[in-house]
Amino acid sequence: MDPSRRAPRAVIDPIPKIRQVGFFAPPERSQSGPPDPTHSSPPISSSLSPVMIPPPRHLSDNLLLHAPRPASSPLSAAAAAGGSGNSFDYGAVFFPAPLSPAIPSSSYSSRIIATTGEGGFFKGNGAGGGKVAASSFPRGGFDLTAMKKAAAASVVVPASELTTVSVVNDSLGIPEKEKGNKAGGSAVEVKDQPNSSKQQKPKLSKAERRALQESQRAAKAAAKGEGSKASGTVATMNAKPAKAVKPAQKVDNAAVAASEKKGGEIPPEKDRKKDAPQPRMQYDDKSRVEKAKRRAVVKQTEARNRVELFRHLPQYEHGSQLPDLEAKFFHLSPVHPSVYKVGLQYLTGDIAGGNARCIAMLQAFQEAIKDYKVPHEKTLVRDLTAKISSYVSFLIECRPLSISMGNAIRFLKSHIAKLPLTLSESEAKASLQSDIERFISEKIILANKVIVKHAVTKIRDGDVLLTYGSSSAVEMILLHAHELGKQFRVVVVDSRPKLRGQLLLRRLVEKGLSCTYTHINAVSYIMHEVTRVFLGASAVLSNGTVYSRVGTACVAMVAHAFRVPVIVCCEAYKFHERVQLDSICSNELGNPDVISNVLGREDVKHLDGWANIENLQLLNLVYDATPSDYVSMIVTDYGMVPPTSVPVIVREYGREQVWI
């Protein structure tokens, strides 16, 4: 009974200090206003003296600060269930380490309490939501208790503290730098703030801030598999020590050990969270890259001689991935064969283009859903979402997703989440399969037909149309205009290394269109003959930026300089609410070896062995970003719109998606 009574008092003392911090005051006041009377009554009844009367109100503030977080955490945790599941296993392996030095010195009864707590943890938190929710509240309480213990220990027995720190350091493997920072921080705190209540103030505020940022990060990570796994790992690791130590708070060694471990983790997490939230993993962060590598299905060998400006993008040596995957075909039971096949096709480049890749992926998911069985004691919604996430991770390893694929995956996951629980397994599967079928037919195929109908009105007899590369939408437009009997000429601009314009050229000539073929070097020479430019797009972003194959921006800028209208043909499902100002923050790196060879000219070998030359790097970018100033019109399935109206389409499209 004594320990439980002591905890409330410890919490009460530092609260007035926190209230003085401007950053926290307004949200506390707004959150705690209405339920204040209810929460304040229990502490009052337990108070021993008139001095305690004002603090109870702040106690309720503190309690309510934690209340809203669990409400939001389960939502993001549900989406990250797959990631959490994987990280759980990892955390379990790591968990025994912090307690091992404490166990020999603790009494038998303490050991029983620890075991019970551990068991309760496993039973009570089967779902991912529980994990994330639990991690927020206990950590706050733990920090207060641990901090108080540490302060007392440092005052009473300085020598034993040094010994304990040394032992903990060995067992946890905390880097020396972090240990130094921690020790220095403790010393400074002891000197400058003799009062124990003052020492606890910054710790608690940090804990609250970290919890808040963690829930935000979890929400952002939900959209990306790798991100959610990392978040789950951190959350789980943090949750376990806090839970275990609470029942054993009388054991000084255990408390100090956990405190040291917690302290060691705080600085790197804090530094990382201060950065702006990343939509995807930054590949120049070594620790996270190694985590991802451990989980990867595809064997990835990091490329040498990487371009410094693009070190944050993933780049691997090509050529070693495909044979390795082929050999492992019969061993990768987690990945469905149809998804596996699509991944191989991405790797070899057999399937290219936003629409083709998206359709292939969705059809593979249809096959996987058809063969799917709900495991025992699991719900279809959670388990299927986790499975889809693992498939997506596999596909990302074969080739990074395009934005159209990202939007399609988001659509699929939202539909899985919205399945009524009353549906049987076969009904749910049939519903999902028809949803995917409808997405393909309406958002991709039918959208292309509407785009063709709109764009053809801009083609007149005598026009000279220029297109770059090979876009399926543009090809359909040209063929349809030809069928309508319009007389026009086509200029196909192409560029290395893929030379996809040649495929388009061949198809157009077969249909009888009059064509001119040129390389992108000569685009300024030929632009004076051109009356219209038609371009495809991989994505259109909120600020009107057109994200498309590399070279598109160059063609659009030349056309703009010659005052030729630039028409971008893009389906609405490729629109995205992201804003991007350049081609560096987000891009895809292709195989550098491709640009060191000239197709059809085996004798040109000047760059053989370029990887061994230290001051030479080859950069093969896949995409670029065209600012909206160079775009005259965007033809989409909602009509012809100026680039400034993309956000309206995104908003209306998003709303319509909910209706589906």
């Binding site: 801009k458 007149r460 219209r532 209208p565 028409i567 005259s632 019109m633 909602y638 009509g639 012809m640 719109v641 100026p642 400034t644 109206s645 309206v648 389409i649 209306e652 319509e656």
Partner: protein, 347 residues
Amino acid sequence: MENQKASAYYENRAVQFGVVSTDWLAQAQSATVHSPPHNNDDDEEIPFSVISEFDRWRKHPDLAEAVAAIRALAAVIRSSKASTMMQLEIQLKNASDTLKCWDTTSISLTAACDLFMRYVTRTSALEYEDFNSAKSRLLERAEKFGEISFKARKIIAMLSQDFIFDGCTILVHGFSRVVLQILKLAAQNNKLFRVFCTEGRPDRTGLRLSNELAKLDVPVKLVIDSAVAYTMDEVDMVFVGADGVVESGGIINMMGTYQISLVAKSMSKPVYVAAESYKFARLYPLDQKDLAPALRPVDFGVPIPSKVEVECSARDYTPPQYLTLLFTDLGVLTPSVVSDELIQLYL
């Protein structure tokens, strides 16, 4: 060139030439197209009724052609003998198509008909079980739309007053009733400003506008069309109306508007467009030739040799980058918002 037939609207305007405040800037191509009458009495009445109703409203000197069309369509609902919602919709659509065929080159007429259909049919009245209740609901919305459109000019005039300051000089091109209303209200508010009117050949619209302004005691200077660049130094802002506002945010207006906007842009003068929202059209021109031509005869005063070709187009397209703001009954908008409004209405 004498063989070129004048547009129906032009003929109508010639008839009303002497009437005070009469004008419509939309130039129309020739040939009024009427639906051939059928033997069925109901079918005979509808096309005849809508056209005659439209003509009746059109003769009102202060009523825009688009508003006349809206009134005519409202009359179709009122006089309809349909017994089901589906029949009423079909009749309304046929009447709308008939009006649009009457003058295929009038952008505001087409836009007004489309917006009217959208506005009227986008209502929960379509879910009424009782047909009479649904019909009265439709009629109510139709009347309301007509009223809103009719009041648009006053709203625009009020919104525009903030942009007219004492001592400013305004260049006006074309005879736009909404622009005239803006200037009239400014004069009534005792603001001191000066107006430059372009001559406006071959219609001499500037002469008519200067006549109207002189009656209001507003200082007016009439400049020939080629003197725009010469006088732009003295100008503080340019006011133009619009035959149509297109999805790109640009406008279609009387010939010369594009030229004036180019001059104003290069000399950093703002160009303000006064246009009612029923002129918003789902068109996206990329250049001048993207529009269906609206022709009118040009009188040079002397006989033109038969080998000489004359440009007879009556209007041009001004891209959005040359326009500063649009004064509409929806508010003061930047050109990029036009597309947003259209998307939200038509989606």
